[in-house]
């Protein structure tokens, strides 16, 4: 959609009335064909409005049972994988009549298993009218069948589906639809199709329902009074301090606190229940069961703005620890024990059932602090983000310099008399992050990317010199930071300067120097270099530097703080190196 003036309501109307917009299937398709057409549309646009429109259209067209399955698939409730991928690769190469190594090479280049299978196997000889539901029920039953039956099932279906249906079918088996549809976006589309409000739907769709047994009516349409209680307030977001911090004005007008590196959240205590919303306005209550206990200690009619942080033995964990929990539908006991989460509260938006957003920040903090001090039970998963006052910006800068030690990303600076606003508004809340650490490293290995970067070498490994500068020691991998144009240039260079190939990975001539930025640094036993860096990314391509000018491992080691938390061995700060 190019037309940005469309309001939400007019968009809703348009979806309902015309239904002939671009990309929407014209024929009267049903079942898997309709679902495959939906995925194709979602996959071929990166415009959110187009995606919502296509989904909303689907929700007005599809059979109720297929709609339930679509919601399930888009909210990560896919049935478990019925066939392992090794077998699928073997069978696909058998059907395509190509050796397995050639299938594997193709897969490395295509970058997606289901897509590779759909591309290499022969074209369909018939067509299938089965519904999405039938396919998924068959897949569930397939899991328990013999290998022979599984093979027969795949061969039969591959032969009856056209290219895109084949791709979607295979994707349903292998898992992992990455088509840029968040649960929130899906909820918005469902809201347009049903006229039920988004946050009500978000609440309905959470929890432990099973697509096999629930009807569309029970899942989506059925009214439930408790839905009203879960409503969050829109989040207020801070602007980054870009130049001179002193330009913000009088330092004494502000309160500062550390900027925690977790998940921004809003926790609602109403009607004897607790609801946790993430900043993306996704309801995530069931991902953090350890926070349930708070509802016994915090009165109804309270809404807290705070950061979800991993916290154990008096120590804030890394964002990477937390990442192991994000995206999981169910949280294992092991995970609860290893990565327990707390809420670090920094604001209160509702107290005794009253909306406090127009109350000055300093006043809200007083209320929050008194609420916190009245909690008598020990060891509850809640903490408070301490505010600090400074007499000068220099003093504040000094505190900012301690951020890495404090395990924070920098400082938040909030105006004492500010209300709690909606969205990103300039003026009252500022984030003042620490500058990243940087080092100049040499490109040593490259691998093809995935998704939109498949077939382009975009995943790089970087090395630093050893002591006598005779060898480059791998220290980090980075995937981001270059422009598309730069990636294309580096890709073309890599293809012409490959030394050796190891499957999808190539070693390249040591020639290019890149400045790598990272947020944190710690000793690590898992890494060849002995050092783990947090969130390494490419800051810039130093075409002005020769490889002899790149940094050494000793230079990197010198960046590790000599005391404090950062000196400890951090286990999981880097994606594992292969």
């Amino acid at each position: 959609m190019k037309d940005k003036t469309l309001t939400k309501s007019s968009l809703k109307q348009e979806t309902k009335v015309t239904q002939e917009a671009q990309n929407l299937p014209q024929e009267n398709l049903g079942g898997m064909k309709l679902f495959a057409a939906l995925i194709k549309t979602l996959d071929s646009t990166n415009k959110t409005n187009e995606k919502v429109k296509a989904l909303a259209h689907y929700f007005t067209q599809a059979a109720d049972k297929d709609k339930v399955w679509t919601i399930a698939i888009l909210s990560h409730r896919r049935p478990p994988r019925p066939v392992n991928t090794t077998l699928m690769r073997e069978w696909a190469s058998e059907l395509a009549n190509i050796p397995l190594w050639l299938f594997e090479e193709s897969y490395h280049i295509v970058g997606d298993l289901a897509e590779t299978i759909a591309l290499v196997i022969p074209a369909a000889t018939a067509s299938s009218e089965k519904s999405l539901t039938e396919f998924l029920e068959e897949m569930i039953a397939l899991k328990r069948k013999s290998e022979e039956k599984k093979k027969e099932y795949l061969f039969n279906n591959w032969a009856n589906l056209n290219y895109y249906e084949r791709f979607v079918f295979t994707k349903l088996i292998t898992g992992g639809f990455r088509i840029g549809v968040s649960q929130k976006l899906m909820t918005r589309a469902l809201s347009q199709a049903t006229d039920i409000e988004e946050d009500v739907l978000a609440y309905k769709l959470m929890g432990d329902w099973k697509p096999q047994t629930i009807s569309f009516h029970d899942l989506v349409i059925e009214e439930d009074a408790s839905q009203q209680f879960s409503r969050p307030y829109p989040f207020y977001l801070a602007y980054a301090v870009e130049e001179d911090v002193t330009a913000l004005g009088d330092v004494t007008d502000f309160l500062a606190e550390h900027k925690w590196d977790g998940i921004r959240s809003q926790t609602i205590f109403r009607n004897g229940e607790i609801f946790i919303w993430s900043r993306g306005e996704e309801l995530v209550t069931d991902k953090y069961p350890e926070l349930e206990i708070l509802k016994e200690h915090i009165p109804d009619g309270t809404v807290i703005d705070g950061e979800l942080l991993p916290f154990y033995e008096g120590q804030i964990g890394t964002f990477n620890d937390l990442q192991t929990r994000i995206g999981r539908k169910t949280v294992s006991k092991k995970m609860l024990k290893e990565v327990p989460v707390i809420i670090k509260a920094y604001d209160i938006l509702e107290w005794e059932g009253k909306d406090l957003r127009e109350t000055a920040f300093a006043k809200r903090r007083t209320i929050l602090e008194s609420l916190y001090s009245n909690i008598t039970a020990k060891g509850l998963p809640i903490g408070i983000s301490e505010t600090m006052e400074f007499d000068s910006w220099q003093e504040m800068a000094g505190e900012r310099d301690r951020s890495r030690e404090m395990r924070s990303e920098g400082l938040m600076i909030k105006r004492k008399d500010s209300p709690y606003r909606v969205g990103r508004k300039k003026g009252d809340w500022w984030k003042w992050k620490v500058d990243p650490l940087t080092i100049d490293a040499v490109l040593t290995y490259a691998m093809r990317g995935h998704g939109r970067r498949s077939n382009l070498f975009t995943d790089y490994t970087f090395g630093l010199w050893n002591e006598d500068k005779s060898e480059l020691v791998t220290f980090a991998k980075a995937y981001s930071g270059l422009t598309d144009a730069e990636f294309r240039k580096v890709d073309a260079w890599i293809k012409k300067n490959t030394l050796e190939r190891f499957g999808p990975v190539r070693s390249v001539t040591a020639h290019h120097v890149f400045e790598i930025a990272f947020e944190g640094i710690a000793l690590s036993k898992r890494h060849k270099s002995g050092i783990a860096t947090r969130f390494p990314r490419i800051l810039r391509w130093r075409q002005d530097k020769k490889i002899e000018e790149a940094n050494t491992l000793e230079d990197l080691k010198a960046m590790i703080p000599s005391n404090g938390a950062e000196g400890q061995v951090v286990k999981e700060s880097l994606p594992p190196t292969k």
Partner: protein
């Protein structure tokens, strides 16, 4: 050991007994040229010999050069070596070059495809002992849909955009792909408009091919003219100021790479049509078989994988490094055709060799 009839040197493919080069990438005295794309017909040779249809194309691109044209299947004898040009089906004028000497026959394909596109003389398999083939799309993941179906999709897409009051911008190489699309676009849907680079090349080809009328886009073209029209534009105009005049518009690309979901998304194009002027996997294998050749040399594309596969099915296949690019995934290698987009002057005949070297080695070589 006897020297091979064709050798791969740092200047290009060399036939020693005839002292000529085939599609050389550095300036030479005498060059036999397969077709008019920039990576095959480069600047700076003293003499060009090519199929007669390529003469106006190459002259248009390279200006004042010494070029002579021959007909398909006509024999040209140079120092007792017999050369002839045979249709390659890649673009208008594109040829395979057959080389015969002392009873030994080699065929160099340049770029080729077996599907009949309606504008190029259809590919003909030539019997030979050694077949030098491109394999731009030499992976089993590439299988083309028949042209008629793809063109139906393109015309439907255009009609749909028109119904919504939008302009359809279709990216295509100025030479070859643009005329292939133009030939099969349905002018009853609306007006077909062109970027200057495409218009000029189309003018060069009109005497040879019957194609629908086009309207050149100029500074004076009113904004209203774009509504519902189809614009043929070189890929490098994507995201340029030139294209902003066409708002509201939707973009599409017709390329073999559009078979990959990732390639289309990466280029931020609204729609991808899978259409290539190169062979897909099955037609590469079929055409190799049809030549009867035992020795296969793979020049550009997925050469390592493709030649490994050929060896596994019994051919004596190997890879040779060349500087041909085929169809690049980012569709920009032919941008030099467009003087407005790429003001770099042509290297003069005496153009510094060093400069040329650097250009060929530089990272931007896929974009020249």
């Amino acid at each position: 050991m006897k020297k091979p009839l064709l050798e791969f040197t740092d200047k290009g493919i060399y036939c020693a007994p005839a002292r000529v080069y085939l599609d050389p990438w550095k300036p030479v005295d005498k060059a036999l040229i397969t077709h008019g794309h920039a990576d095959h017909s480069r600047w700076g040779h003293k003499q060009y010999i090519t199929h007669e249809s390529n003469v106006p194309i190459i002259s248009h691109r390279l200006g004042d050069i010494n070029v002579s044209g021959v007909r398909f299947r006509e024999s040209v004898h140079i120092n007792n070596v017999k050369f002839s040009f045979h249709p390659a089906g890649h673009i208008p004028g594109s040829s395979q070059i057959r080389v015969e000497h002392k009873g030994e026959v080699w065929v160099f394909t340049g770029d080729y495809k077996t599907e009949v596109d309606g504008i190029s003389e259809p590919y003909e398999p030539i019997k030979c002992d050694t077949f030098i083939t491109e394999c731009t799309f030499g992976l089993p993941a590439f299988k083309w849909t028949p042209q008629a179906e793809v063109m139906d999709d393109i015309n439907t897409w255009w009609a749909q955009n028109k119904a919504e009051g939008k302009c359809s911008v279709l990216f295509a190489y100025s030479l070859g792909k643009a005329q292939r699309l133009l030939k099969h676009l349905d002018p009853s849907i609306g007006k077909i408009m062109t970027h200057g680079a495409i218009e000029k090349m189309t003018e060069v080809l009109r005497p040879m091919i019957d194609m629908p009328a086009t309207e050149l886009i100029t500074r004076d073209t009113p904004k209203a003219a774009f509504k519902g029209s189809l614009v043929l534009a070189p890929p490098a105009t994507h995201g340029s100021a030139w294209i902003r005049k066409m708002v509201p518009y939707v973009t599409a690309s017709a390329s073999g790479w559009m078979a990959f979901r990732g390639a289309r998304r990466r280029r931020a194009i609204d729609k991808g049509f899978v259409m290539s002027d190169h062979c897909d996997w099955p037609s590469l294998l079929e055409s190799i078989e049809a030549t009867g050749a035992e020795k296969i040399i793979c020049t550009h594309g997925y050469t390592d994988i493709f030649s490994k596969y050929l060896r596994s099915i019994g051919y004596d296949a190997r890879t040779e490094e060349t500087q041909y690019e085929g169809e690049t995934i980012d569709d920009r290698n032919k941008a030099e055709e467009d003087p407005e987009l790429n003001p770099t002057p042509a290297l003069s005949e005496g153009g510094s060799k060093k400069e040329d070297d650097e250009q060929a080695q530089s990272l931007t070589s896929t974009e020249i």
